[in-house]
Symmetry: C2
């Protein structure tokens, strides 16, 4: 019997399983109402239009080849042109040569880390931040430093303080990673003022910013804010995009916009990683956009997810016990919930699943440090409105029982809990 | 202007561009007959059956979800069951739980490196070895040690000597990587006797073997040899497979069979790398196999590539100048050519392209050291037989001119060349 533990690389010894992966398994249990996954609504996948486009891809030998042969490492020329147009519509001038097609935007992050990070390098992240990003940074043995957020997103003051503190320690962060629009996990967006301040600060301090924008198009109300990439010099901000939320996640289509000097290394990294992104997905996305289907589909999805967001907020307003706070996102897939100080959302999840068959993601996993035990993420994206109401009612009933239990018989815990509640902390500002 | 060079990770500073990537660009120039790419024959992609299968995938909401929603990191249960059956047909007992679906087998290699390699770790490779593997090993800063091959594949004696030499240096290789069937680049296969000897040696020395088998099914004649995985303990050999040569490369579908202890880390590595492999490709491959199309398609492809191999060998027999040697593969996509000692295949490529519009891959890139300047790889897989004859005639005409030029006016070079020809060296045994 081979002893494998001694053979692992140092990086692999630090790999940790994520809550999300384990929770994806729950999606398949029909009795569970899952607010955990955060995946798109598959019943809204545009089947008829997909069939039309595929018919076109199969119609001539040239198109068959385009769709099923090996492709270029950088992505197909047609796909990169489409992405250049999509970026331009957002106010970002990026020629196809600065765009790399990736196997989902997760791979964009992975390739960036591969090219930029040595073990022990510092990466700045939001508190809380997207779990999949934290995981990839940790897998490259990065040293993560968290910057708190409030209702306008990343705190620029806190960022400045952190940069100064790191300066004194002679540490220079490799980059700052953030999700400026309808963030995963909080649903909060970065205000225009802060975007401008962030870009100014980044340029002053020569700080590279990695802007991940999966949800920007899923906007329900309020103004659309320009990407950081539209406000900054093209050398300062790296942009990550994806078709997973607005088209078909199962195609694994993401992209990355980077300065030329970085692109060259990223392409070599991509080539070693998997040669090229699947050609079929690229050909399908290009055909779908060429036929003018993408924009109306995004508009339809905005309506679908707005209705679900509304249903979840209405149910929370109606059923939640007073001790619970949550965000009111203007787009995206997520609502962020803060339980009373001292509650442990991860411990409660098992009970909640057993007693009420409702799933969420405990918030701790989104923190780069030990904070967030009393937070959780709810996703409304995949659940029809009637099930959302039912699920939130059950969830709130559960939390109501926890609260009542603490006030009643369980005085020792209630007392220790009471001592631990100094009112909402800094990060609590994210809730309205 | 940001100075990027100082920001790259140590690993990224060592990234090198490959000949193959640059040559893939040549594929699109119609006047060039390219023996460079080594990609499958896209005109044989089974379009009618693909259309049928896709019709099925679009027919019900459940199948649409299966094909286009996010999937499990490990791969879909149906896909892993199919791969378990495919392995069993090759004599390898591997439950679905030991199979990881990857974004092509290139990603399988990348994930293995991620989990097993620290900078400076030793990896054993064939001389010559698959270029894409060398690239990924180098990107993980591995220390590559080459083992020569001859007409029966990897030299087990040389492997044993190398292991002893490394022992004396207190170095333990992390693994040996090889392509035992119709190898890329040489077309040579490992004999049954050597397979058995290799497995014995690996078990004695507790050497992990990574067996990459993209071409095993593309067999024209001779006996099918069992995979090393069928001969060894399941802890000793890691198997890499792919659908790229027998189905559709543009789907990027590969897999990896690994011991349970390794699987757990590999799945976490895959999750950080790109969350999951594209669902559509998996659903399509499963449906294609379920309908019984896979086996007859592979048989058809054997006929297609056999005809091309025959055409290339016949043309070489007819047109090649006497100073050129080549392999006679019994399967796969490649013929390996050895030019006279002192010729530089990389330098000659530019002239050959200009004068005769024929492309090949210079062999040096397949060597982990400085050898192989006078070798080159020809692929017949993507070129119809009539073009193969035309291209080989042109290529041989070119090499004939080079030879004549050296014998005639260019005596100084011819003299220095003559001194450097001691007869075929060890690796030259690969040619018949």
């Amino acid at each position: 019997m081979t002893d494998w533990s001694g053979r692992f690389s140092h990086r692999a010894r630090g790999f940790v399983a994520s809550d999300i992966r384990d929770l994806l398994r729950l999606l398949s249990r029909p009795e569970v109402i899952s607010f955990a996954g955060g995946v798109p609504a598959s019943e809204r996948f545009p089947v008829a239009q997909i069939a039309e486009c595929i018919g076109d891809l199969l119609a001539t030998p040239e198109r068959v080849r385009e769709a099923f042969q090996y492709g270029l490492t950088e992505g197909s020329p047609e796909m990169r042109r489409l992405l250049s147009q999509i970026m331009l519509a957002q106010g970002v001038t990026a020629p196809p040569s600065r765009i790399l097609v990736t196997n989902g935007s997760q791979q964009g992050m992975d390739l960036l880390c591969r090219v930029l990070l040595d073990p022990g390098d510092t990466v700045l992240v939001e508190k809380p931040a997207y779990l999949g990003a934290l995981q990839v940074f940790i897998s490259y043995q990065a040293d993560l430093v968290g910057i708190p957020i409030d209702e306008e997103g990343l705190s620029i003051d806190a960022l400045q303080e952190t940069l100064e503190r790191l300066d004194q320690m002679q540490k220079r962060p490799k980059f700052l990673y953030l999700v400026p629009n309808y963030s995963n996990p909080t649903g909060v967006s970065l205000s225009l003022e802060r975007r401008q301040a962030l870009v100014r600060l980044a340029q002053e301090r020569d700080l590279i910013v990695v802007e991940d924008n999966p949800y920007g198009e899923i906007r329900f109300e309020g103004n659309s804010q320009p990407p950081l990439s539209a406000l900054a010099d093209s050398e300062q901000v790296i942009y990550l995009g994806t078709f997973s939320k607005v088209f078909l996640p199962g195609l694994r289509l993401g992209w990355l916009v980077a300065p030329p000097a970085l692109m060259e290394r990223l392409v070599l990294a991509k080539q070693a990683a998997d040669l090229c992104t699947n050609s079929f997905g690229q050909a399908l996305a290009v055909e779908y956009a060429r036929r003018g289907y993408l924009t109306p589909h995004v508009e339809e999805l905005q309506g679908v997810y707005r209705e679900r967001r509304d249903a979840m907020l209405a149910a929370l307003d109606r059923f939640a016990p007073d001790c619970i706070q949550w965000t009111r996102p203007q787009g995206g897939f997520f609502i962020w919930v803060r339980l009373p100080q001292g509650w442990d959302a991860r411990e409660l999840l098992a009970e909640c699943l057993e007693q009420e068959q409702v799933a969420y993601v405990a918030g701790k996993a989104f923190y780069c440090d030990e904070d967030g035990a009393n937070t959780l993420r709810l996703s409304y994206s995949e659940v029809p409105p009637s099930r959302i109401e039912q699920g939130i009612r059950r969830l709130c009933r559960f939390f109501g029982r926890v609260e009542a239990g603490q006030r009643a018989g369980e005085l020792p815990q209630a007392a220790s809990t009471a001592r631990a509640v100094p009112g909402p902390g800094r990060a609590a500002g994210a809730e309205r």
